[in-house]
Symmetry: C2
């Protein structure tokens, strides 16, 4: 890693770029998130207010099965109200209070697809959007899957489960219905783990 | 692609999952986004309200240079107020009104890093979060870069530009400061384009 601007031999990690939060208050509460106004002081002493979206952490699971034609993913298809279109994506959702992240990942997989995982491995975690969101997304690999045939969907969840060859998902990422950027991030972690 | 639930031989694309928006109104305006309450009717006729974050489309650029040790990316390091930590990520930002997406991508690259691109190629586009956001993110590859040495940052932008070997970025994705999930998605598109 080499810096272009500015020369920073005495601060290679950029810690001088850090802002300090001076105060913070919630300014809007919505269905699955709230918005907070965060007043921060810049490295040069300027005070500025930023809007931050607070919500629970999320889990996203890459469930892999072996088929006669190679590896395939178990995915879900649903209508997404932000994008106003159908999305085919990895199973996942909001982690619940008091639940371990890995348990939440296995729960979301089971509820949305009916698959129970014999092994769940952490692939990594990131900020879904570090500029405006405070939460994290945790990516997991689910293997040794058993199909129970039983799902648990909320009454307003219309979710289909399907299997798609892994190569087809990679090939079509970015074309509808593979529109979900966090599914693309999860796929990168999967490819790093299982090249 | 093969369905698990339900059997859907007569609707292979899942169009029966589509909701219809009945009405919609803005319920909160913030610094760089607003929140809209969207009242939608489910495939089974249930009315339900969803909160959607509206904001302008974004561009993210993967700028590649050749070095003696192989390919490297031009990246930016900055404090991110959502995650409250430093993030090293691909240059990018909010597309401006009246500007072509490709122009906006080149502009963000120039403003944040001082590099002018001889060629800018679309890598793909996605929804940053189709569940709760209505905007799109457009990914571009920037090549044949010329360093002008001149950047244009806002007074509250403290952004460093740096070059990082491509292999190092892939290796460290998910470890601080490589925390940005949309940068991981952009990297997947880059790897698909330049395997």
């Amino acid at each position: 890693m080499s810096d272009i601007y500015p020369s920073s031999a005495d601060d290679p990690d950029g810690s001088r770029l850090a802002w300090v939060e001076e105060s913070s208050k919630t300014s809007g509460g919505f269905r699955v998130f709230s918005v907070r106004e965060s007043v921060c002081r810049s490295p040069e002493g300027i005070l500025k207010t930023f809007s931050v979206i607070d919500t629970r952490d999320w889990a996203m699971v890459v469930p892999v099965i072996e088929t006669k034609r190679g590896k395939a993913f178990v995915m879900v298809r649903q209508w997404r109200h932000g994008a106003r279109e159908l999305s085919v994506e990895f199973p996942g959702g909001v982690l619940e209070s008091g639940e371990q992240n890995v348990e939440g990942a296995a729960r979301e997989l089971r509820e949305e697809t009916g698959f129970v995982a014999g092994s769940v491995t952490k692939l990594g975690e990131m900020s879904p959007n570090p500029a405006i969101m405070s939460n994290r997304i945790h990516f997991y690999l689910a293997e040794n899957l058993t199909q129970t045939g039983k799902r648990e969907l909320d009454e307003d969840e219309f979710v289909e489960a399907l299997t798609v060859p892994a190569a087809e998902v990679l090939q079509n990422m970015g074309r509808p219905p593979y529109i979900h950027a966090l599914t693309a991030a999860a796929l990168l972690f999967y490819l790093k783990h299982c090249p």
